[in-house]
Structures are given as structure tokens and as C-alpha cells.
């Protein structure tokens, strides 16, 4: 069964690669509707970059699953740092990549009761409104400022990944007033132990306030925000780890929606970048899930941290005009 799935995936990857490569057939001698600048360009054919993008995002999809991170957080610094695309289009594509992943995961997480709608709705209102502000700021800033801030953020994420602790079942003695009024509490079924876990949260006002910053950063950098959502939901507000991870993933489908619309409506979305990236990362994620059963994720997590460290440094140095 697994072999058949892998064969099907290999075929899908091959078909997609052939499609991109063969598209040059219609490309030559095509009349132009737009005014073309006269700048000297790379000798690579136009289809080479989308094809490389597809292959790289396919690999990123595998690594993201094995490393336990979202695709967006790897996509933006790596594609922004090492591909010829302007950071405006990279962030637009990054948001849509994170959005597509969250939309795909959301239904299953909601149906199983792992992601919690009552927890997500108040958080989403704040995060999505702030993501709009972040997206508008991000598109108004010069690329070098964005790169410096992006580099600093990625290095901060590396620090969070290295230092943040996790709490499987935080011990919440007393739910706070706001979460009591909003009835943010739940039960989820822990398949590994067969138990139903009752949970409640605390520090809701502080948690909601933190999502103002998270929303702005998600919109500004197009990163997705699982790296920030999970520690806040789990460590600050006290939701169980699995509920935090699942609700965070679902939250991205709302936060990234608002930011993605700003990028779409401001023209920062190129289908030739977006579609290969979404398909590549989704196919990679499916393969990653297959590989996950046979590998040691801890080692991969350090590879992800090293990749982020390198890509974050690259963005920072690019912004500072030290490494162009």
C-alpha cells in the first residue's frame, strides 16, 4: 500500500516536472502584452527557476514534516535568500503555501477535536486583524529593511526552537475569568493512552495580547506563525501540547487568509511561483509523513535549526548589504 502511494507520488512529481519543462514549447515567440524592461538577464531559461522551486519546495515539505515545523517558516528565508525572486513575491507565495497547508490539515484536526474552535475564534479575530496591518507594513517597507527584520526574526525563531520547553499537559489550577466567560475548555481523546483529557486555560488576556505581535509578524514576513502560536497557547495559556499544535495549525488558515488577501490585492502574487510551491510542499509533506514512521525526528529537527540559522543569517547579511 505504502509502495503504491510512493509510486503514485513519484508519478505526480514526474508529471509536474515534465509539464513545467515542456511549457517552453508555447513560450517562444509569444506576443507581449506588457512593456518589457531592457535589463540584461540570466542565461537560464524561464522555466528553470519554477522547476527548481518545485523541487526545493518538495524537499522542504519533507523536511518540514520531519522537523515538526510549518512550511512557511522554511520557505520565506530559503527561497528569499537563494532564489532570484523579490522578497515581496516570496512573502506572498510563503503566505499562500502556509495557508494551503493549514487548510489541508484543518478539517481533520477539527473533526478529531484536536483543534479547538472555541479557543481559535477569539485568537483569530485579533491575529487576523493584526496580520492585515503587518502585511501592509511589510509591503510598504524597503526590501533591505524587510530582509534585516526577517533575518533577525528567523534567528529569534532558532533561539525559541532551541530553548522553549514544552508541556504535554499543563497543570492549570484555575481558569481565568475571561476564558470562563468565553467557555474556552474542552475534552480531547488521547489515542496513545486511550484517555479523554479535560483541559482549561489561564492568562487569556495576556495570551490574546501576545497575538497582536504574532499577527503583525505573520503578515509582515509571510512566515506562518506556528513557531509563535504553539509556545503561547501551550506555555502561556496552558492548553495541552497536542491541542496547542493542532489549534495553531488551524489558526494559520484564518490568520494567513487575511494577510494573503492583502498580498493578492496589492499584486504580490505570481502564479508561476505560487502554484509550483504549493504543489511541491504538499507532495513533499505527504512523502514526509511516510518517512516519519521510519526515521528519528530529533536529528532532523537539528538539521531544520541549522537550515534556519543559515537562511536567517543570509537574510540579515543580504539586508545589511554584506552578502548580496
Amino acid at each position: 500500500m505504502r509502495g503504491r502511494k510512493l509510486k503514485f507520488l513519484s508519478l505526480a512529481v514526474l508529471i509536474f516536472a515534465v509539464l513545467i519543462s515542456s511549457a517552453y514549447v508555447f513560450a517562444s515567440g509569444e506576443p507581449s502584452a506588457a512593456t518589457v524592461p531592457s535589463a540584461a538577464e540570466s542565461t537560464m531559461p524561464w522555466w528553470a527557476w519554477p522547476l527548481i522551486l518545485f523541487i526545493v519546495t518538495f524537499l522542504l515539505g519533507i523536511v518540514a514534516v520531519l522537523g515538526g515545523v510549518g512550511g512557511g517558516v522554511l520557505f520565506v528565508p530559503i527561497i528569499g535568500g537563494f532564489f532570484p525572486f523579490h522578497i515581496d513575491f516570496v512573502r506572498g507565495a510563503g503566505l499562500l503555501v502556509a495557508l494551503a497547508g493549514a487548510l489541508a490539515a484543518g478539517p481533520g484536526l477539527l473533526k478529531k477535536g484536536m483543534a479547538d474552535l472555541r479557543l481559535a475564534i477569539p485568537v483569530a479575530v485579533i491575529a487576523s486583524a493584526c496580520a492585515i496591518v503587518g502585511a501592509m507594513i511589510g509591503l510598504a517597507l524597503p526590501a533591505k529593511v524587510v530582509n534585516i527584520a526577517l533575518g533577525g526574526t528567523i534567528l529569534g525563531i532558532v533561539a525559541i526552537m532551541l530553548m522553549a520547553k514544552k508541556s504535554e499537559y499543563p497543570d492549570i489550577q484555575q481558569a481565568d475569568n475571561l476564558s470562563t466567560v468565553l467557555r474556552i475548555t474542552g475534552v480531547y481523546h488521547e489515542a496513545s493512552t486511550g484517555q479523554d483529557i479535560n483541559w482549561k486555560i489561564h492568562r487569556t488576556p495576556q495570551g490574546l495580547a501576545t497575538f497582536i505581535i504574532i499577527g503583525v509578524m505573520a503578515g509582515m514576513f509571510g512566515l506562518g506563525a506556528g513557531w509563535a502560536n504553539v509556545p503561547v497557547l501551550n506555555l502561556m495559556m496552558g492548553a495541552p501540547l497536542k491541542v496547542s499544535v493542532a489549534t495553531s495549525k488551524f489558526l494559520l488558515s484564518i490568520t494567513d487568509t487575511s494577510a494573503a488577501w492583502i498580498y493578492v490585492n496589492n499584486g504580490a502574487v505570481l502564479p508561476m511561483m505560487v502554484v509550483p510551491s504549493i504543489i511541491g510542499i504538499m507532495l513533499g509533506s505527504i512523502v514526509g509523513v511516510q518517512i516519519l514512521a521510519r526515521t528519528k525526528p530529533a536529528a532532523v529537527r537539528y538539521i531544520v535549526i541549522a537550515m534556519l540559522l543559515f537562511a536567517g543569517s543570509r537574510a540579515l547579511l543580504k539586508g545589511l548589504a554584506i552578502w548580496n
Binding site: S42, W46, V264, G267
Partner: protein, 138 residues
């Protein structure tokens, strides 16, 4: 053994609609991209010229290609590249539809606070989608 359902009615309704919408959106995205790649519909920006444009800041790109931001793409669906925006807009719009689906359920359960929060979320996402908000150039 009975399978215990731990999700609420509105959560399940949201999940079901999201599942259908997400699959439909991805299907549109793939089909329209194949149309774009195969050249069945000529694109507004010729694919050979893309490397000149994708390195530009978005405001320069829009000026150079004569593309109007916002919902202007709706009038350019006959172009292969803009056809892809149907799938992109659908994926970016499915969450709004899901929220609209759960508001009546929340009202029926007299969960007024969450019905209001869901309505506010619809307004926030609709504002983002409206195209009214324009980012300044750089």
C-alpha cells in the same frame, strides 16, 4: 465500542465545509495552472519575460506590466496567468464561507458572544479581501 465525538456541532460543520472547499480550491488551482503552462490561454505577462519581472519590487512590477491591483484580475480571466487567481481567491475565501456557515448554528445555540466574534471575523476577512486597503510603495 462507541466512537466518542468530542467536537461541537459548529466545529464539525466548519470542518466539513472547509474540507470540501479546500479540495475544490486545490483542484481549480491545479487545472488552471495546467491551462497556463500548456499555453491554451495566452498569458498577460509572457512566460519568457517572467525572469525580468519576478526580481522587481511589486510596485515596479505592476507599473512595468500595466497590471492593476485589487480585483482587476476578474476582468483578465481570459489570460492564462490571471486564470490561476480563481483557485487562489477560492482558497483565500473558503474561511469566510466557513464562518458564515457557523454563525446561524451559534445563534441557534444562543451563543451570542461567539456569534458576534464570528461575525467580526467575517468583517475583518471581508475588509482584507475587499481590495480597499492599499499598501504604500517603496
Amino acid at each position: 465500542m462507541d466512537k466518542k465525538v468530542l467536537a461541537t456541532e459548529e466545529q464539525l460543520a466548519y470542518a466539513k465545509l472547509l474540507d470540501t472547499g479546500m479540495k475544490f480550491g486545490l483542484l481549480i488551482l491545479v487545472v488552471t495552472f495546467i491551462v497556463y503552462l500548456t499555453g491554451i490561454l495566452a498569458p498577460h505577462v509572457p512566460v519568457n519575460d517572467l525572469p525580468k519581472y519576478w526580481k522587481m519590487p511589486v510596485h515596479t512590477y505592476l507599473t512595468a506590466t500595466g497590471i492593476h491591483p485589487g480585483w482587476a484580475w476578474l476582468g483578465m480571466l481570459g489570460k492564462g496567468d490571471f486564470l490561476n487567481f480563481i483557485g487562489i481567491a477560492f482558497l483565500a475565501g473558503v474561511t469566510i464561507i466557513c464562518y458564515l456557515r457557523i454563525i446561524p448554528i451559534l445563534l441557534k445555540k444562543k451563543d451570542t458572544i461567539y456569534a458576534v466574534l464570528a461575525f467580526v471575523e467575517v468583517l475583518v476577512l471581508a475588509l482584507a479581501a475587499s481590495g480597499v486597503l492599499k499598501a504604500g510603495g517603496h
